[in-house]
Amino acid sequence: MHRYILNRLLLSIPTLIGAAALVFLLMRLIPGDICMVRLGGSGGTVSASALAACHAQIGLERSLPLQFLDFIGGFAIGDFGTSMWSGKPVVQEIASRLPVSLEIALLATIVAVAIAIPLGTISALKQNSWLDHVVRTVAIAGIATPSFWLGILSILIVLDVSHYLLGSPWMPSIDYVPLWDDPWGNLSIVILPAITIGYRYSAVTMRMTRSAMLEVLREDYIRTARAKGLVEQLIINRHALKNAMLPVVTLIGMEFAFLIGGLVVTEQVFNLNGIGRLFVLAVQNQDYTLTQALVMLTVAVFVVTNLVVDVLYAWLDPRIRFG
C-alpha cells in the first residue's frame, strides 16, 4: 500500500510540471498588461515611467525563460512568490480564502451525501415505482438548475419570508465570520450556499448511486445471498451498497475537488471570499503568479483526491489490491 501511494505521488510530479508549463504559457498568451489594469483601470493617465516602475517591481521586465525558471524553482521549494496584483505573498492570499471554500465544499458534500445515497438506493430498490419517478425528477431538476440561480432564489425567498413573518427583510451577514469566532453567525452564512451547491451535487450523485445499485442488484452474488436466505437489509447494506459505492466515491471525490476552486458564481452570489472568486480575479487582473499558484493548488487537490479515492477502492472492494 505504502509503495502504491509513493508511486502515485511520484507520478504526480510530471502532471504538476506539465500543468505548470501550460498555465505559465497560456496566461502570457492573453493580451493585456496587469500594470495597465492596475494603474489605468479607472481611466487615469499612466505615465511611461510609472508603467516601467510597475513592470520592474513585479518582475515582468525579465525574459520569459527566466520567469519560468523562477516559478518552477519557487514551486519546488514551496515558494509561490507574491501576488502581482496585491503584492502580498501568494500563500497568504490563498490561505485567507481556503477556509471559506473548504468549509462550503465539506458542508455541500455532507448535504449531497446525506440526500443522494439514501434516495439513490431507495430509487433503485423501488425501480419504476412512483417513489423512483419522484426521486428521478428531483435529481434531473437538480442537474438542470444552476446553483447560482438557486442561490439567488434562496436569498430572495429568505428576504420575502422574513419580511412577511418578522415585518422587515432579513438575510445572513455578507461579512464572513470564521466558525471558531462565531459558530451561529458562521452557520447562518454558509448554510444557504451549502444547500444550493449540495442540491446539484446530490442530484448527480443520486443518479450515479441509483444506476450503480441497479447494476449490482442484478449480480450473481446478490442472487446467491438471497438464495442463502440472508436478511434483505444485510444484503443491501453489506453486499450491494458497498460494491455500488465504487463509482459513487469517484464522483464524490471529483466533485469535492471541483468545489474547492469551482464555485465562482455561487461565491459571488453569496459574497463569499473563496478560492473560486480569487481564481477569477487572478485571471481577470492577469496576476500571473497568483493564477499559477491557484492552478497548481487545484491540480494538487485533484491528485490528492484521486489518491484518496483509489485507497478507498481497496477498502470497498477487496478484489482490488495494490502493489
Partner: protein, 536 residues
C-alpha cells in the same frame, strides 16, 4: 401594471421626501456612536496606497484613515469650486502672479501612532506625488505638471511654486488620493503604504481581510473638533450588485458610495419606502466613442462627423437614463462646471443638433462623399454592464439609422486596454472618469498621445495642443471659458476626434438613518466619513 407604477411612484415620492427631509439634517444635532457598515462595490484593491492606485476600491477602503492638505467642502461637495482646508489653517491667496501658494499647517495634528504631523510630512508627501523618486510610481504625477517645486521653510509652512499660473492647480491639490504620509516612512520604504495604513484621519485602522472587509475605529485625537461622530466603520467588499441591493434591503449594510442603476434604486425604494434616502447627482464620468484615425476610413473627418451626426443625444439621454447610469447631454466639460457648454453652445456642434433628421441626412451625404456608404465596422467595448454595454447598444442602433452595420466586441479589461494601446480597434467605447471636477485637466483626454499617453485616437494635432495650452494658462475666467469653447469645438466639431455620449448619473441609495453625508459628482470624493452619523 398601473398599480405597480403607482406603487413605484409613491415609493419614489417617499424617497424624495426623505431626501428633502434629510436636507436640513446638517441642522440636526449629530448623534455620537454606532458603527457604519457600507459596501465597496469591488473586489480587493491592488494595494492600499492612494498615491499609487487609481481605483475607487482603494479610496473607499482607506480614505477614512487619512488627511489631505485641502479637500472639497464636505457640506457642499456638489460644487466644483468650493475647497476647504483639511490640514492647512486657511486657503491661501496666490502670490508671485499666481505662481506661489503658501499653506500654513495646523498645529497639534498627530499620526495614528502618536507622532506629530508637521509641514515636513506634507511637503515630502507632495514632493513624492509631483516628482516621485526613481522606481516609485505616482498615479497623479501627470496631473501636477504645473508644479515646479514643493518646499517647507519651517515646521508650519508648505510652499508650492508653480511653473505657470493656472486655475487647475487648486482642484488638483484637493485630489482625494493625495493622502498625507509620514516623511520618515516614505523615505525609508516608499512601498510601505501599499500594505500598511498609517494616517492622521478621522478613523484609525483596525483590521483588513483581503477581499472581505476593512474596519476602522474612531480617532479620539482627530483635529476637527467633535468629529468623527461614528465609533467606527466596517467596509465590506461586495462586487455583485444583487448582493448590495439585498444587503441594503435587509439592513446588512447602510449603503455603498459608488452608484446604483435606476432599476436597483426603484427596487429598494419600492420595498423600503422612507427607510431609504436617494441622492442623485451628475457624475464626472463619461463614455466616449473614439474612432481610430490610423484605420481607414476613420482617418476621413467626413466619416467621423457622420458618426457623430447620426446619434440623437437629446432623445437618447432621457431614454437611457431609465435603464442606465447616464443622464445629461454634455460636451467635453462636466455639465455642472462653469466652464461647460450651454445647450445653445452645444447645439452648434456636430452631433448635438436638435433636428435629428436633418443631421442624419447630412451624415448620409458625408458618407456618400467619403465613399463609405453602408460601412461595416466593429465597436470595441469593455466588459462592464453599466453603462458601457447600454451605451454601445444604443450607439449601434443609432448608427444603423444611417445605414451603418456595426457589431460590438466586448472584451475583459486587460485585452480591452491591450486593444486600445495596440490600436487594433476601429471604434472603441472609451471613458473619461476623473475625481475632482477640474475641467482644465479633465479635457486633456482628447489631446494626442504624444501629450496625453491615454489617448488612443491615433492622431497628432499641434493646433489642438496649442489651443489647450492657451486655455490652461489663461488667468481670466471669462477668456478661459472662450478658449475652452474654441478647444472643444475644434476637438468635437472640426476634427470630431471623439464622440460624446450622455454624462453618467450617480444614484446613491442609503438607509435613512445614515446622516451627514452629501453626494458629490464623483465616487472618489467626500469619503472620509468624518461628518457621517447614525440617527438610530
Amino acid at each position: 401594471m398601473k398599480t405597480h407604477l403607482r406603487g413605484l411612484a409613491a415609493g419614489l415620492s417617499m424617497a424624495v421626501a426623505a431626501a428633502l427631509a434629510a436636507t436640513p439634517a446638517s441642522a440636526q444635532t449629530p448623534k455620537r456612536g454606532g458603527t457604519l457598515t457600507y459596501m465597496i462595490p469591488a473586489d480587493a484593491p491592488p494595494s492600499l496606497d492612494g498615491h499609487k492606485e487609481n481605483t475607487f476600491a482603494t479610496l473607499h477602503a482607506t480614505a477614512p484613515f487619512y488627511s489631505t492638505l485641502i479637500a472639497i467642502n464636505p457640506e457642499n461637495p456638489s460644487s466644483s469650486t468650493d475647497f476647504v482646508c483639511d490640514l492647512c489653517t486657511e486657503m491661501p491667496k496666490p502670490t508671485d502672479d499666481g505662481k506661489t501658494y503658501t499653506f500654513k499647517i495646523r498645529k497639534g495634528v498627530k499620526f495614528h501612532d502618536g507622532t506629530p504631523l508637521t509641514a515636513a510630512d506634507v511637503a515630502r508627501t507632495w514632493q513624492y506625488i509631483v516628482n516621485p523618486p526613481k522606481g516609485v510610481s505616482s498615479a497623479r504625477e501627470a496631473y501636477m505638471v504645473m508644479v515646479d517645486k514643493v518646499e517647507n521653510p519651517d515646521d508650519e509652512t508648505v510652499v508650492f511654486k508653480l511653473k505657470f499660473a493656472t486655475s487647475a492647480f487648486v482642484p488638483a491639490l484637493a485630489d482625494p488620493f493625495a493622502y498625507i504620509y509620514k516623511k520618515d516612512i516614505l523615505e525609508k520604504d516608499p512601498a510601505w503604504y501599499e500594505k500598511n495604513v498609517l494616517g492622521s484621519g478621522p478613523f484609525k485602522f483596525s483590521s483588513y481581510e483581503i477581499g472581505q472587509s476593512i474596519k476602522g475605529v474612531r480617532n479620539p485625537d482627530y483635529y476637527h473638533e467633535g468629529q468623527p461622530y461614528l465609533d467606527g466603520f466596517n467596509a465590506i467588499f461586495a462586487a455583485k450588485q444583487s448582493v448590495r441591493v439585498d444587503a441594503i434591503r435587509a439592513d446588512r449594510a447602510a449603503t455603498e458610495f459608488r452608484g446604483m442603476p435606476p432599476s436597483a434604486r426603484d427596487e429598494l425604494v419600492k420595498e423600503l419606502g422612507d427607510k431609504v434616502t436617494v441622492q442623485t447627482s451628475d457624475w464626472n464620468c463619461v463614455n466616449l466613442l473614439t474612432p481610430n484615425q490610423k484605420k481607414k476610413p476613420f482617418d476621413d473627418v467626413r466619416v467621423r462627423r457622420a458618426l457623430a451626426l447620426a446619434i440623437d443625444q437629446w432623445k437618447g439621454a432621457p431614454a437611457l437614463s431609465k435603464i442606465a447610469t447616464v443622464h445629461t447631454v454634455g460636451g467635453l466639460v462636466f455639465p455642472g462646471s462653469p466652464l461647460a457648454a450651454t445647450k445653445e453652445e452645444l447645439t452648434k456642434m456636430a452631433g448635438f443638433g436638435t433636428d435629428i433628421e436633418k443631421a442624419r441626412a447630412e451624415a448620409r451625404k458625408l458618407l456618400k462623399e467619403a465613399g463609405a456608404e453602408g460601412l461595416k465596422f466593429e465597436l470595441m467595448n469593455r466588459n462592464v454592464d453599466q453603462p458601457y454595454k447600454f451605451i454601445a447598444t444604443w450607439a449601434i442602433d443609432e448608427w444603423s439609422k444611417i445605414g451603418l452595420k456595426v457589431t460590438q466586441r466586448v472584451l475583459p479589461t486587460g485585452p480591452f486596454y491591450e486593444g486600445l494601446r495596440a490600436g487594433t480597434f476601429e471604434v472603441a467605447v472609451e471613458f473619461n472618469c476623473q475625481n475632482l471636477v477640474n475641467p482644465l485637466l479633465d479635457v486633456a483626454k482628447v489631446l494626442p498621445r504624444s501629450v496625453y499617453p491615454e489617448n488612443y485616437g491615433g492622431y497628432e494635432d499641434p493646433k489642438l495642443i496649442e489651443l489647450y495650452n492657451a486655455m490652461l494658462r489663461e488667468p481670466d475666467p471669462a477668456r478661459q471659458r472662450e478658449k475652452m469653447r474654441a478647444f472643444e469645438t475644434y476637438a468635437l466639431d472640426t476634427q470630431v476626434d471623439t464622440i460624446m455620449t450622455p454624462w453618467w448619473s450617480r444614484i446613491i441609495v442609503h438607509r435613512s438613518y445614515m446622516k451627514g453625508w452629501k453626494i458629490s459628482p464623483s465616487h472618489y470624493l467626500n469619503l472620509n466619513l468624518a461628518n457621517v452619523w447614525l440617527d438610530k
